[in-house]
Amino acid sequence: MARTLKLRIWRGDDKTGALQDVTVEANHGEVVLDIIHRVQATQMGDLAVRWNCKAGKCGSCSMEINGKPRLACMTQISAYGEEETITITPLRAFPVIKDLVTDVSYNYKKAMEIPAMEMPAGMKPGEPRMQQVDVERSQEFRKCIECFLCQNTCHVIRDHEENKKSFAGPRFFIRIAELDMHPLDILRNRKKTAQEEHGLGFCNITKCCTEVCPEHIKITDNAIIPMKERVADEKYDPVRWLGSKIRRREEVL
């Protein structure tokens, strides 16, 4: 064992809880999730934590480490000083279930509100032809591992429970952008509904979501800003506005 680590881990449930101090051995090259597992196996058999792949691919072990939203499996302990105490707390934007596990069902509800991909009528399996450059824009957003760190850090809901009802959050803005840029999707008005139904207007482009994304998806620059710009075009350009009214009858709603 290379070093002794001091941790403060939040333990509790939806009603009550507190930080608990723990001292634990750590090896060179380990990540925070390894340390949590060692605490679990040796000192706190019932410490609750979510995790799956331990390789930064599934997005399960989201938590806050020294106040920063992070994946525990992608956080090297070597990033912290010898004397530093590492504080580990559950995601703040979601209700705690127990210890480091939160109720993220908000995200699954929002997923349900985004209309699914709609294929052109008559398109048959094997027929689609798309160029690589045309799929790449949506592919960037499909890299999302649904860790919900962007949702957790977004100030629109982080400390404003009341906004959750009308705000889908960055994860679902990139989902809308992905479908909007999908070469095969024919559902119209995705940008407009992003603004009117999913709360795109709440976002004031502080880029916090982009900063915490473990997949380095440019959420703000490549999804949110382009959608906002085009929504603005359509809203304020009188010719486009007229066009959108005339076309409306043929649109798939």
């Binding site: 090259g29 979510r50 390789a55 349900m112 699914a116 094997g126 689609p128 032809r129 690589q132 649904e146």
Partner: protein
């Protein structure tokens, strides 16, 4: 505590590729379906699949077709595959990929705008549909979004999105319920609250994935605890060929925290070479006779293959996984390994940094962030890691129905037979889709002809008592320690190279842990308590380990994912034998069963001289069954 109860037509256990595909099929047929998963929705181990999904669409090389794919699959499995599964898989895989595209999947493209396909170990032509090296994520997300789309449709039509298709996330199933000898449902607990939950359903599809957590070094996530294998055994179904485990040749070996995590085979498919600590490209020494005419025996030809695949043999780095894993193991044992007990895998000399980041983005990311290694400039250190179990529930190929239990179905990694003694990379993702769909169809047929089969109170109470048991004990065994002991035993005695004496020792030690595990106690309460969860997972892993060790000790030959130091050769007589595991309530019993013979039309797809390497002269003389 009031018991949470549900009634469905079909309950699917597992929300990876196979489970979700089965659920979609059953829902599309008008049935009500529950999907039960141990994790959150969308986190299943399928996300870890990197390289791609093998399907002979022929988009890159139009010589490809289902017959070539079938032959490759049988060769890869050393002809121990259930021929019918390999046949169905090869024939149906392209449709399953095209179907994903219709549901929104965005695969990488060829210049003509078709789905691009890449080379992979054991596949004669470029065959793997892929999205960079995150193909599994694309598959799981597409299926997840397909489920949501079906729920949205139900919402529009009935006002209730979850009326006929509901996902129960973070629920562990502890028992398949049976009544009158047939499936009656499934029983388990919610991981969040620890509260018990009952699903009554005449058909249950098991799609729980693998068993990797039985081993110390594995690429599998915590969920890979063999739940479905054990649930099926306990319900009276059989497991087939549990001695065959795939050790993926290239797992990360350093740093410790990532030991076992997969390095995708695409690194080799894209031109990565393997060298030992002396700098030798050692794979040329390890080309087995059966593959000599397909693999280059010199670096010049191997290098030329990347540019001209029609006139050169493939590089030996692309041999099937079992061959590469054994070769690496031998190099390390001979003292030619790296400092951390692996070998070097280098792609930096062949491809530019830009191309590496484009084609292998998550590998670059994984090494850079987890190991501080820039794979565009330096070599990776890699070694074998327990990756996949070829063995699994014995099923009827066409319906995925579990042999011996009416109403039970199994698909994906938890089912056996498809891959024989060794799975080819890329065949797993299409296996999930092909047999997930078939399991869904099988369940639909079964439900339509059988109807409901309610569980009795006595059956339910028995299932409930088992969940309560570990809380009733105090001061007993610790589940974490027992799990570690089991992993040491399997790693040391049932691992990549086996001997009769070590397997005998393993069987005794596993039995001992099993005895002690009856005395596990749990600290804390039922609410999201990992110690409590592990107590159940461990019971499953113990059954799997017992089945593997007992099957392995009987098979006195080396083939695919089963290597016996004391019986190093492949033996044509053993090729005709499947090992069938069953459970008598106390222990796992193994019996030998004859492997179904290749029918003549499939037999004739091969050059008879190739078959002579695998089959007995009597089998060759027969020329396949009629």
């Amino acid at each position: 505590m009031t018991l949470e109860k549900y009634k469905y037509d079909v309950v699917v256990i597992g929300a990876g590729g196979a489970g979700l595909r089965a659920a979609v099929e059953a829902r599309d047929a008008g049935l009500s379906v529950a999907i039960v998963c141990k994790s959150l929705f969308g986190k299943a181990h399928t996300v870890m699949a990197e390289g791609g999904a093998a399907a002979s669409m022929g988009n890159v090389n139009d010589n490809d077709n289902w017959m070539v794919h079938f032959r490759d699959t049988m060769r890869g499995g050393k002809f121990l595959n259930h021929y019918r599964m390999a046949e169905l898989h090869a024939k149906e895989a392209p449709d399953r990929i095209w179907e994903l595209e219709m549901w929104g999947a965005l695969f990488d493209r060829t210049k003509e705008g078709k789905i691009s396909q890449r080379n992979f170990g054991g596949h004669e032509y470029p065959r793997l549909a892929h999205v960079g090296d995150r193909t599994g994520l694309e598959l799981i997300r597409t299926m997840q979004q397909r489920i949501v789309a079906l729920q949205q449709k139900d919402q529009r039509e009935t006002g209730d999105a979850e009326k006929n298709l509901k996902v129960f996330a973070e629920v562990t199933i502890t028992e398949i319920l049976k009544e009158n000898g047939k499936v009656a449902g499934a029983y388990g607990y919610r991981r969040e609250s620890g509260e018990e939950i009952l699903f009554e359903a005449p058909a249950v599809v098991i799609a729980t994935g693998g068993v990797g957590k039985t081993f110390k070094i594995t690429s599998n996530s915590w969920e890979g605890t063999g739940d479905g294998h054990a649930l099926a055994l306990k319900a009276g179904a059989n497991l087939v060929d549990m001695e065959f485990l795939q050790f993926h040749p290239t797992g990360m070996v350093w740093p410790l925290s990532v030991k076992g995590i997969l390095v995708t085979e695409s690194v080799r498919g894209e031109g990565g070479i393997l060298t030992n600590s002396l700098g030798e490209r050692f794979m040329f020494k390890y080309i087995p006779d059966v593959f000599k005419d397909k693999y280059a025996d010199n670096p010049e030809e191997a290098d030329r293959w990347y540019l001209d695949q029609d006139n050169n043999r493939r590089p030996p780095e692309l041999l099937p996984r079992d061959e590469v894993a054994r070769a690496i193991n031998s190099e390390v044992k001979a003292g030619r390994g790296t400092e951390h007990g692996g070998v070097f895998l280098d792609v930096s000399k062949r491809l530019s940094a830009e191309v590496i980041k484009k084609r292998l983005p998550s590998m670059w990311h994984q090494f850079y962030e987890l190991a501080g290694v820039d794979i565009t400039k330096e070599a990776m250190e890699v070694g074998p890691t327990c990756h996949y179990v070829m063995g699994g529930v014995e099923v009827e190929p066409d319906t995925a129905a579990a042999v011996g239990v009416d109403g039970l179905f199994a698909a994906g990694e938890v089912a056996g037979g498809m891959h024989g003694s060794n799975r080819l990379g890329g065949n797993s993702l299409t296996d999930l889709l092909v047999f997930g769909r078939r399991a869904g169809m099988g369940a639909v047929e079964y439900v339509k002809s059988h109807g409901a089969n309610p569980a009795s109170d006595a059956t339910i109470q028995k299932a409930s008592a088992k969940i309560e048991a570990p809380f009733a004990r105090t001061g007993g065994e610790n589940a974490y320690s027992l799990h570690q002991e089991l992993q040491e035993i399997t790693h040391n005695l049932v691992g990549i190279i086996r001997t009769g004496a070590e397997l005998k020792e393993a069987i005794e030690k596993i039995a001992d842990i099993r005895k002690r595990s009856a005395n596990i106690s749990v600290t804390g309460d039922r609410k999201f308590n990992p110690g409590f969860h592990l107590a159940f997972d461990l019971d499953n892993m113990l059954l799997v380990a017992e089945s593997t060790a007992k099957s392995a000790i009987l098979r006195e030959e080396s083939r695919g994912g089963h290597t016996r130091d004391d019986f190093p050769g492949m033996n044509s007589t053993w090729r005709q034998v499947n090992h069938i595991s069953s459970f008598d309530g106390e222990k796992v019993n193994i019996k030998a069963q004859e492997l179904p013979a290749l029918p003549k039309e499939l037999f004739d797809l091969f050059d008879v001289h190739e078959l002579e390497k695998y089959m007995t002269s009597e089998e060759i003389a027969k020329g396949g069954s009629k």
